[in-house]
Symmetry: C2
Subunit: 301 residues, 2 copies
C-alpha cells in the first residue's frame, strides 16, 4: 500500500479541512504547523551520512515545509527515538547539526525515547502575520510557474552514494545538506496580492507540479529547457529523470501572477486542463497524476 492511499484513508476518516497541504494553517492562532518523520534505512542510512548532517537535514526538511506555506518558521520540537548503538556523541552531533541549520529558529522541546532503529519526527511552527499563506489548491489559469533553484542535484547525490562514490561533492552535499528556500518564500508571501499555490520539491519537481495541478483542477505546462539544473548532471544518462523525479532538492515551485514571477526563474504557465505538460524539443508530453506517481519512489514498496 502506498503513502498516498494511506493519506486518502486518513482524509476520509477525519473529514478535516486542514489535511492536504504540507502545513496546516490555523487561522485563529496565526500559525502554520507541519510534521515530518525520518526513519533510519527508509529516509537515510548512517552508511552515507553523519549525525551532524542528519541533524542538519532533519531541520531543513521541516523548515522547507513551513517555507512552502509562505509562513515564517519560528520554532520546532524534535521527537527522537534512538537504538542502543547510538551514544552521547550521536546526540551531541545531531543537535549541533540541527542548531546550525535552524539558525534563529528555536528548538523548543520534544521527546526522547528508545527504539531499535533511529526515528526522528519534527514538528515545525511558522508565524503567518504579514504573510499571504499558500495552498496547493490556489493555482489559477494564466499564472506563471516559478522555481527557486536547481533540480536533480540531490537525486544525483543519492545515486552516487548508492554506487559507493563521493564525487562530485556538490551533489553529495545537495543530498545530505539541503538548504530550505527561506528568502524565496518570504519575498512571495510578503509581496503577493492574489491567492497562489506553492510547494517544495521534497518528492520531486514533477510530483509538486502534478499535486498542484490536481488540487487546483488545472494543467501545469512547463518548458523543460527552462528548468534550472547543474550541467554536470549530464554525466548521468537519465539526467532528465533526476531533474523531474529525483526529489529532496527542497526547492520551491509556485504559481504566481506575472508581476511577482518577473523576479524569478519562470519555467511555465498554468493552463486549462489537468495533469502536467512538459515541452521538450518543441514536442508536448502530457502526464496524468497517475503516470507521475508511478515514477515516484515509494517508501512502502
Amino acid at each position: 500500500m502506498k503513502e498516498k492511499e494511506f493519506i486518502n484513508i486518513i482524509k476520509s476518516s477525519l473529514k478535516s479541512n486542514y489535511i492536504g497541504d504540507d502545513c496546516a494553517y490555523l487561522k485563529d492562532t496565526g500559525i502554520v504547523i507541519s510534521q515530518d518523520n525520518l526513519v533510519e534505512n527508509v529516509h537515510f542510512s548512517l552508511d552515507f551520512t553523519t549525525p551532524y548532517k542528519l541533524g542538519w537535514k532533519s531541520a531543513m526538511v521541516n523548515i522547507s515545509d513551513i517555507c512552502a506555506s509562505g509562513a515564517e518558521p519560528i520554532c520546532f520540537t524534535v521527537g527522537l527515538s534512538l537504538p542502543s548503538y547510538t551514544d552521547e556523541d550521536f546526540v551531541k552531533e545531531f543537535y549541533h547539526g540541527l542548531k546550525d541549520a535552524a539558525k534563529d529558529i528555536e528548538i523548543v522541546g520534544g521527546d526522547i525515547t528508545g527504539a531499535d532503529k533511529i526515528f526522528i519526527s519534527i514538528a515545525a511552527i511558522g508565524k503567518t502575520a504579514g504573510r499571504k499563506i499558500s495552498s496547493r489548491k490556489n493555482a489559477k489559469i494564466g499564472q506563471k510557474i516559478i522555481v527557486s533553484g536547481e533540480h536533480g542535484s540531490s537525486g544525483a547525490g543519492l545515486r552516487l552514494l548508492q554506487n559507493g562514490k563521493n564525487y562530485p561533492e556538490k551533489f553529495i552535499t545537495a543530498h545530505l545538506m539541503p538548504e530550505a528556500q527561506i528568502e524565496f518564500s518570504r519575498y512571495i508571501a510578503e509581496n503577493i496580492k492574489e491567492d497562489y499555490a506553492m510547494m517544495d520539491t521534497s518528492d520531486g519537481l514533477a510530483d509538486a507540479l502534478s499535486q498542484i495541478a490536481c488540487s487546483s483542477g488545472v494543467n501545469l505546462e512547463i518548458d523543460f529547457d527552462k528548468v534550472p539544473y547543474d550541467v554536470d548532471l549530464k554525466m548521468f544518462a537519465d539526467f532528465e529523470d533526476l531533474i523531474l523525479y529525483g526529489g529532496e532538492d527542497y526547492q520551491l515551485v509556485a504559481c504566481v501572477p506575472e508581476d511577482i514571477a518577473g523576479k524569478f526563474t519562470v519555467i511555465g504557465t498554468v493552463k486549462q486542463g489537468s495533469g502536467i505538460t512538459i515541452i521538450k524539443n518543441s514536442q508536448k508530453f502530457n502526464f496524468s497524476i497517475h503516470q507521475i506517481e508511478k515514477k515516484l519512489f515509494n517508501h512502502f514498496k
Copy 2:
C-alpha cells in the same frame, strides 16, 4: 544511557529556556506545544492492544501533556511510520481511536511513511488565552499538593497483560485507554491567581513529585494514606510500588494555594528542603531525585 542523561546533553547543546517542562510555552504566539513518540515494543505491543486503543492512547498521552501546562488543547499533528504488516484496516482503526479520544480537538495534519516497526509521533498544540500556564519550577513552600484521581491502576493493567491476564478489566482499560484530565486542568488554569507547578503522572506519581521538587528547589511531602487508589490494587503484594512508580495513569499532580486546593484531593504540602518525603504509618521516608530515578522504568535499558 538513560533518557534523562540524553535530555541533559540536549539542554546543554541548545541552551534554550524552553526545554524542561512537558510543553514549550510560546508566549508571543499564545500557544504551548508538546511532542511525544510512541514506539512499538518499547511503549506498546500489538499483542496487548488494538489499533483503535493505540490511537486512543496516542491522543490521550498528548492531550495530557497540554493539560499539564494548563492550556486548552486545540489540535494535533500525527507522524505515523508503518511497517508492511500494517494495512488499510490498521490505519482506519487507529484514526478512529485517535478521533474518539480527541473529540473536538482537531487532527490537522502530519506525515505517513514506511518503517520496520510502528512509530507514532504526535505534536499537540494548546491555546493559553484566559489561562495561567504552569511550570514545574513554580512550586512554593506552603502550597498544597493535589491530584486529579487514582494512581497505580495503569501499572496494574500492564502487569496483568504481561502475565497473560485480562481481568480485572478496569485495570486493563486504565492502561490501554487512559483519560486525560481536561476538567481538572481547566479549573485550575482559569481560576488560579499565583504561579503554580503541574505535571502529569506519565512516568509515575513519585517521578512527577520529584521532578517538581528538583526544578523548584523544594521538598514535596505527601501522606501516602491520602493518595487515592483503587482498593483492588491490594491483590498485588507490591501495590504501594504500583501507586508510586507505576506510571501511565495520566493523572495530574499540582502544587497550588489553599483556596484552590480545597476543591480537590490534597495529598501533601510543599516544604523547605529537597527531594520527596512520604509519610506512611506515622513514619517519614525521604527520597532524593536520584533514588526515585533508580526505581523508574528505563527505556534505554
